[in-house]
Amino acid sequence: MKKSVVAEWRRYEDRYRLMGSVCLLCKENFFPRVTHCVRCGSSDVRDRLFLREGEIYSFSKIHVSPEQFQKQVPYYVALIKLDNGPVISSQIVDVGSEKLFVGMRVYAVFRKVSGTGEQALTYGIKFRLTKK
C-alpha cells in the first residue's frame, strides 16, 4: 500500500529526534512517545529527549528485503540500548568492513529511510559506529 502523507507527518516528532516519554510515576522510559505508561498505566507521562549515544543490544545483516529497501541490500538492522533511554529499533549505517558485535558503541544520525521518486520519501534516525 502507498504511504499516506498524513500518517508520515503525524510521526515527525519521534522520527526526526529521539523524542520519547518518561513516566513520572514509575520512571520507565519509552520510545516512540506514549500517551500513558505501558508499565503502570499512569497518564502522568512527559516528553523526554534521549541522548544520541548507545550500544548494540542485537543486530542482523539483511540480505532479502521488502521491495522498498531492495536498493539498500545488504544492510544492518539493530536493537540499540540508548545510554539514558530504552532499547529502540533502527539501522546501523556506514559500516564498511568492520565486524559488528553486541555491546559496540553507536550514535544517532539523521537519514533517509525509504522511498523512491514515485513514493513519499521517509526520513528517520539511524545509527553509526562510534570511532575509537
Binding site: R11, V38, S60, K61, I62, E67, V77, P86, S89, V113
Partner: protein, 374 residues
Amino acid sequence: MTKFGEHFEKSLLDLSLEATFGALTSASLTKDTIDAIVVSNMLSDTLSGQGHLGALISGSLGLTVEAFRVEGACASGGIAVKKAVDMLKAGTHKNILVLGVEKMCDHSSSETTQALTNASDAEKEAFYGITFPGLYAMMARRYFYEYQIGQAELAAVSVKNHYHGARNKKAHFPKEISEKVAMTSSKIADPLRLFDCSPISDGAAALVLSSHEPQSQRKPVRIVGSSIATDSVSLQERKSLTSIKAAELAGKRAYIEAGISSNDVDVAEVHDCFTIAEILALEDLGFFKRGTAGYATMQKKTYYDQEMPINTSGGLKSCGHPVGATGVKQVVEITEQLQGTAEGRQVDNPQYGLTHNVGGSGATCAVHILTNTL
C-alpha cells in the same frame, strides 16, 4: 488437511473445502451436523482480495450457521482452536468446524514477504526495513551471545525437521537434508540462512471439535488444556530476546488446566518459523533447561523415536507454513499421533501431546494440550 505446498491450480476456497470434507469424513460426520465455523487466516484480504471468510465458507457448504474468522498473525490457527474450545465450554454449540487456510504462492516472494511484515510493529520495526527473518535473526544473535551456541545448533533443528517431514506425505518439502546443505544455504538475515527459515506455502487444515463422544471408529482425543497469552508486538519492548514470555505463560496456564507438567508431554508440535524459534520453544515450554535446547537437538533427543519427539510433522520448516493453517495442522498432527495413525513417524504409545503456535516475533502464543487417556 490438504497437502502443503504450491497449489497453483486451487483457490483459497478449493483448499478450504478439501480440508473441511477430509475432516468431516475422518470424524464420520455430515456437514449438516456442524453448528458453527471458526476460520483462521492471516492474509486473504491482502493476497486474495477476499475478506468475510466465515460466511464464505459457511455459504459454500450450504450452511447458515454462526461463522467468523480470527486473525493473530501466524498464531491465527491456535487462536481459532481456542475460540472453538471456549464455545464448546460455554455450551452454545456442539460440533464446531475449525478451518485454517492460507494461499500464499500466487504472488512473488517479495510481495508475500511484504504482506507477512504486517505481523510486526509497523512503526517501530517494518518502517526501518526490519524483516521477519531479521527479527528472529536478532533473537538468534542475542541467544548466541548469552549462551555461546552457533549455526551448527540451528542447522540441527532444520536437519531433524526435514528428517521428519520426509516421512509425512502432506509435507511441502518431504526431503532429508544434510547439515552441510543447511549451513551453506544462502544468507537471508545473518545469522539465519535459507534453511533456518520456514517456506511460503499454500494449504488448509481442518478439525471438528465436539462436546460429546465422537461417532468415529478412531480413538477419541480430548483437548484438556487451551491457553493464549500475549506480549508487546515489537521486540524492543521485551524484557528478554532469549525467551518468549507469551509462550512461557500460555504453556504454564495450559499445564495447570490439564493438570500435568512438561515431563508428562510425550510429543509436541512447536512453532519453528525459524530454527531459533524451536530452540526457544523447547526452553519456554520446560522441555529443556535454558541454554541447553540447541545441544539437546545436536544430540538427536528430539527425533520421533527419541526421548522428546518434536515436530513429527516436519514442523513449519519441512511440512510448510501456510500461515493460517499452521496452528490447526499442529492439532491435526498431535491428534494423529494420539490415535496411532502417524505412519512412518509414529511416536511410541503417546498419551499427552502439546501444540505451541506463535504469532509474529512472539507477541501471541496459543498452547493446546491433548490426550487419549480419560
